[in-house]
């Protein structure tokens, strides 16, 4: 065990820091869940990609930097430190990308990965359906082989970024006689294909953060399938593992929020007395953000030594989502009467993005598999408690 960074890692950090300081937009970009904001975020991704920073752990030939996962953590720390924009293509870069790396053919890798890295193609995830939420194996949308194409019919819903994305990856029933998680395949669908209609859905904050996607006799080539036919579940679980286990929520994000919370606490103290209960909540948040970070460094060390992410991804998902919620809730309590102010309110100066962050944090225990489902997984797969 050696928890000090090497001179090479420090040099990498310096390089990332210098580039980000010179390039991160001075003003925050408009929300990525608006048409204009989405385009501005895409332009930022192009800039990142041209400099080779879009996806540092990917091989150079796919638009990455060939860095290891520790360097990725370092990059993320610097990214949040610099206050850089949210990643509009997070479904592509953090979830689909690693899955293609593991399950894709050589052609698929060359075809998709560079355009993911550059965000020329922005991706949406299509697991959920009206009747398949937590119970994802209840997926009904079908993909039937017709010559060298699949013909897809059905409905996906709650697809984040769906309103402005170019592609959707998801699971479809390719074996009509199959049940539950057998007979599903992982298929990549262009959202501009004939027969696709997208209906944006406004979220709690009033923006079109997700969408319904209707598929009516949509034809996609067979080579758009990732992994074997009927083995979609296995591929999807790998994606979900990346999502919950590591990539989707790097620790830097929460450390950054925790630091801002500490700043807010200090400002609040400077304005007058603060309830000691809130002092305790703030320090607990800070400690938990550090615990999440340390746990991640431990996971990454394990991966670098040849380990894999398994069910323990479920532990992460619960921890970060509840921490995020607690940090934002604590911030709102510190803000007192100003907590309800929208940014345009004249008295809102200095309240920051806590309310918006809170609304988003509320979704954390729901998306990427609800926390109740994660608890089931921990109990049954890690603790080996009986299913029935």
């Amino acid at each position: 065990m050696d928890l000090r960074f090497t001179p090479e890692q420090d040099a990498f950090r310096k390089e990332a820091r210098a580039w980000l300081e010179a390039h991160v937009p001075a003003e925050p970009l408009p929300s990525l869940d608006t048409r204009q904001g989405c385009e501005r975020h895409r332009a930022w991704e192009h800039e990142l990609n041209r400099a080779g920073w879009a996806m540092v752990p990917w091989p150079v030939e796919y638009g990455g930097r060939g860095a290891d996962l520790l360097q990725w953590l370092i990059f993320e720390e610097e990214y949040y430190r610099a206050g850089a924009p949210g990643r509009v293509n997070q479904n592509g870069i953090f979830l689909l990308g690693p899955t293609i790396m593991e399950y894709g053919t050589a052609e698929q890798k060359t075809r998709y990965l560079p355009k993911i890295a550059s965000s020329e193609e922005v991706w949406a995830q299509g697991w959920s359906e009206p009747n398949a939420g937590s119970d994802m194996a209840a997926i009904q949308a079908t993909a039937v082989v017709d010559g060298d194409h699949y013909v897809i019919n059905g409905q996906k819903t709650w697809a984040s970024r769906g309103a402005y994305a170019d592609w959707l990856f998801g699971m479809f029933r390719t074996d009509p006689d199959s049940e539950r998680h057998r007979g599903l395949s992982f298929i990549l669908v262009p959202l501009d294909a004939e027969g696709v209609s997208v209906r944006p859905i406004e979220q709690l904050d009033g923006e079109a953060g997700f969408a319904e996607v209707f598929l009516d006799n949509v034809r996609v080539p067979l080579e758009n399938r990732l992994g074997e036919a009927g083995k979609g579940w296995e591929v999807a679980m790998a994606t979900a593992g990346f999502e919950r286990g590591l990539m989707l929520r790097s620790p830097a994000r929460f450390q950054n929020t925790a630091r801002k919370l500490v700043e807010l606490y200090r400002e609040t103290v400077a304005r007058g007395a603060v309830d000691p209960v809130l002092r305790e909540r703030v320090v607990r948040c800070w400690m938990d953000a550090e615990a999440y970070t340390l746990n991640t460094y431990q996971t990454v060390s394990r991966l670098l030594e040849g380990g894999k992410i398994g069910s323990e991804a479920s532990l992460n998902k619960i921890f970060w989502s509840e921490l995020d919620l607690e940090m934002h809730e604590t911030a709102l309590r510190l803000l007192g009467a100003r907590a309800e102010l929208l940014p345009e309110a004249p008295a809102a100066k200095g309240v920051g993005g806590w309310l918006d962050g809170y609304l988003f944090a509320l979704a954390g225990p729901i998306y990427a598999g609800t926390n109740e489902i994660q608890r089931n997984v921990i109990a049954e797969r890690i603790l080996k408690l009986p299913r029935k």
Binding site: M1, D2, L3, R4, F5, T6, Q9, D10, R13, K14, R17, L70, L73, E77, R81, P251, A252, Q255, A258, R259, V262, Y265, R266, R279, E280, V282, V283, R284, W286, M287, D288, A289, E290, A291, Y292, T293, L294, N295, Y297, Q298, S301, R302, E305, E312, L315, I318, F319, E372, Q374, R375, N376, I378, A379, E380, L383, K384, L385, P386, R387, K388
Partner: protein, 353 residues
């Protein structure tokens, strides 16, 4: 940067686990409750043979010359076994304290004997008024302001304080500091006392991890065997989710404790904060484990006869030793919120420092 243990370290952990499973079963713990001292000289010399007691002792003085990163996993095992022998005060705190004295006559005299299991050290701290294992100690190291004093057990008066944990032996100590007993003071005394406190707290945190693991294992085993309504109670979601939450708590305390071990071993700038985070997090996981494990067991867990409370009581006493969770959390708050002592975000601060 590498946040993992070596194969050797993991192997030593297994060795100690196997040893404790064989030599320190719960029946033996219960038998020791009944004895005058509550301690087993035989077990103590076996622990010396395994190398645990001199792990931090320099090789020149008969020890293994290792550090807290090597020790932390072994302390975890002593917690899992609910071992009551004074490993923390003697091996984890006393040895490095003697080792780091500038004037080393005391160390020369005692370190080889402590490593060999022939002598026991008891070390006091400024937070907790009671001294544990003073009755079996051959040398007491006591704080007095910023001074450290060394006394023979015959030079103090001990008053036993009955503890809720029948394995514990804690005492009020009456003693008088003098120039004869004074070992060091001033800057050296402050530095060594601060290090002793951090080492004690780290060791308790490590034991708390082991105790928590044991309580989870017991609860899972019981939930798998016990049937109600015709099915194992472990199939009920209420039971599953309680245990899952506990598992989350444990797995997020664990790396905090391991990092604290690293900070102590490397004398990191933020050592005190890192250790306090570990003591608070591991203690909280353990307190939760005690409650959850009892709830999972129902009434049988509420009996004296069932072994569950052996570990529950250890949770409660560890929580109080070397600074409570509340004390340590307040110390983190002072560092992080008020900047009284150093604290840094892991990773992020690497260049800033």
């Amino acid at each position: 940067m590498r946040f993992s243990f070596t194969e050797d370290q993991l192997l030593l952990q297994t060795t100690v686990r196997d040893f404790l499973e064989g030599e320190c079963p719960v029946e033996r713990l219960r038998a020791l409750w009944q004895t005058e001292t509550g301690r087993s000289p035989e077990l103590w010399s076996q622990l010396a043979e395994v190398g645990l007691l001199g792990l931090l002792t320099p090789e020149a003085q008969g020890g293994m010359g290792m550090n807290e990163i090597d020790l932390v996993l072994l302390l975890e095992e002593t917690g899992r076994a609910a071992l009551a022998e004074p490993v923390i005060s003697s091996a984890a705190v006393g040895v490095p304290l003697l080792r780091e004295l500038e004037e080393n006559a005391l160390g020369e005299r005692w370190l080889p004997r402590v490593a060999a299991g022939e002598a026991v050290l008891a070390v006091g701290n400024g937070i907790n008024p009671f001294l544990s294992d003073a009755h079996v100690a051959d040398l007491l190291l006591l704080p007095h302001g910023d001074e450290i004093h060394a006394l023979a057990p015959t030079a103090v008066t001990l008053e036993r304080q009955a503890s809720n944990d029948p394995s514990r032996r804690i005492f009020s100590v009456e003693w008088a500091p003098s120039s004869d007993t004074r070992v060091c003071g001033g800057e050296e005394g402050r530095t060594l006392l601060a290090a002793a406190l951090d080492r004690g707290a780290l060791a308790c945190a490590a034991q708390a991890l082991g105790v928590t693991q044991q309580l989870i294992d017991m609860a899972v085993k019981y939930a798998t065997q016990r049937k109600q309504f015709g099915v194992p109670i472990g199939s009920f979601q209420a039971i599953k989710h309680m245990l899952a939450d506990l598992k989350v708590k444990l797995e997020y305390a664990r790396p905090v404790v391991y990092r604290a071990a690293h900070s102590v071993a490397c004398e990191a700038r933020c050592r005190a904060t890192d250790v306090s985070m570990a003591k608070a997090a591991a203690g909280e996981a353990a307190l939760m484990a005690a409650r959850v494990a009892l709830q999972v067991h129902g009434a049988i867990g509420y009996t004296w006869e069932q072994d569950l409370h052996v570990w529950m009581r250890r949770v409660w006493s560890l929580e109080l030793a070397w600074g409570s969770g509340a004390w340590h959390r307040a110390r983190v708050a002072d560092a992080v919120l008020d900047g009284l002592t150093p604290a840094e975000s892991f990773g992020y601060s690497a260049l800033a420092a």
